[in-house]
Amino acid sequence: MKTNTKFKALLAAVFAAMFALFMVACSNGSGSASSASASASSESASSESASASSAAAIENPVIRISTTTSVNDSGLLPYLQPYFEEATGYQWEITSAGTGAAIKKGETGDADALLVHAKASEEEFIESGYGVERIPFMYNFFVIVGPADDPAGIKDCATAAEAFAKIAESGQVFVSRGDDSGTNKKELQIWEAAGITPEGQDWYVNAGAGMGATLTQAAERQGYTLSDKGTFLANDANKTLTILLGESDDMKNTYSMIAISPDKWPDTNIDGANAFIEWMLGDEASELIANYGVAEYGEPLFYLLDASSSASAASASASASSASSAS
């Protein structure tokens, strides 16, 4: 009898705890939403910036940004996030996946804006009418990384294609993303340029993974791989692998933003997407991006495109906002 009441008390306690957790979870959700709107309104009241007026009229403060793992792994967006949210009153909801899936989210209406780096796929995306405009705005370089002793001897190659040919010749392990990502596409282009079909070769490891996992695997196998610089520098793989080839012309990696067209998905937050693009092209973001990584790695992880292309980008953003006002 005594144990029975004890058991009941325990059961009651467990239920109470679960209920409390549930309530906390709920109130947290609404709490953060209300605090967000509160900060947004205080922002609009105190700030005298141009964005203040638009912030006052924010209907939907959440912008869903779909990006690739390499952007996310580099830490750039989380770094920019507080500045952006303070300046505009919008909030970012960032999801990252391989480029294929990241773009797909735009097609299925699960994102308001894309931040990706796969030119061909992006252009196809625009052509099918899902995106308003492709706005390239920054770039960095892919790098070929490998073991420090460089058994394939690629260190002094002039181009990536030449380096790949040497790796193939030496039969050293090369770990490929194999996930149809921007990096993977770039890698396949280089193989093609080198006139080699790596698929099915013994030394060619198709990892089917994100950049981080691919680097880990390359480090474990002491093999070569193609990576974006930012992810490599941020990854522990840089303890056993080194950059053997970087900044050759055939390894430039351009990032673009695309607002999802409200014609296809009327529910998307086009105002938010435009605010995102506008801010990213603005002076504050430019300075932040140009300085990102300098303190830690001695060099920036991303470079802004030169004036001429950012001018075209600015006009593109203008057309994007005109599209939004049309809707």
Partner: protein, 247 residues
């Protein structure tokens, strides 16, 4: 929809990548199941059968391990097998044995815990009965296992199901390498990441079909399990012994 049809056509093409993936998945699950059963069931029987100091603690640890997050199991095995790990020289990372190892770490506690629970449910009754008849300890154990046979069989298939559907650990230690360690779950992850949702769904359906077939076999096996042939244990069994001996 076209992609779905295409995926299924691929699946039944011998020598295709998909059939290779399915084969590898079954291979991995079979190895994992056999090994974790071989370790987990005897251990579970011991834990379920005998009283010993610290048994409650052992049961608690087992129950905790039954809920072990797959990624954690994967991480532990990863560290052990990685280049800088204690078994790094074996070069087992990103191989089938590595995946099987991670799954064994993951599944053995489940098999062990469930077996212990199944056994301890009937063990006291069977023990009293067998003792009263003067059966040998060996014969008693055989009868106990016989009584738990369908439970033990379903535990084995729980293990198999867990193994075939697990993704976190095999992703970590297997590395999802094409033709080498890419199994159905990691392939689904990859296809989803690449935005090939239809293909991923087709793979998922294939996985379900495989599970269904395996479970059907399990059920019919369960129905067919018949009495094992009696093999007499030739020991002191003219009758039971008297208790209450002076000590």
């Amino acid at each position: 929809m076209d992609e779905l049809v295409q995926a299924f056509t691929l699946m039944f093409t011998p020598g295709s990548e998909l059939s290779q993936i399915i084969l590898l998945t079954l291979q991995m699950a079979a190895f994992s199941t056999v090994i974790s059963t071989a370790i987990g069931v005897p251990l579970g029987v011991l834990v379920g059968l005998y009283r010993f100091p610290g048994k409650r603690l052992v049961m608690r640890i087992l129950n905790t391990l039954m809920g072990l997050p797959p990624v954690l199991a994967g991480l532990v095995v990863f560290f052990i097998l990685s280049r800088s790990g204690p078994l790094g020289t074996l070069r087992l990372l990103y191989t089938l044995p590595a995946m099987v190892t991670a799954q064994v770490v993951l599944i053995t506690p489940i098999v062990c815990g469930l077996s212990a629970t199944a056994i301890s449910g009937v063990a006291p009754l069977v023990h009293e009965t067998a003792h009263g008849m003067g059966l040998s300890r060996r014969r008693e154990l055989a009868c106990l296992l016989y009584e738990c046979r369908s439970q033990l069989l379903s535990i084995v298939f729980v293990a198999f199901g867990r193994s075939i559907g697990e993704v976190g650990a095999v992703m970590l230690v297997g590395g999802n390498v094409q033709y080498k360690t890419r199994v159905m779950t990691t392939a689904i992850m990859l296809e989803t990441n690449m935005g090939h949702f239809e293909y991923a769904v087709a793979l998922g359906i294939a996985l379900l079909v495989v599970s269904f077939v395996i479970n059907s076999i399990a059920l019919s096996l369960q129905e067919r399990t018949s009495a094992p042939e009696a093999e007499g244990a030739r020991s002191h069994t003219r009758g039971g012994r008297l208790g209450g001996e002076r000590r």
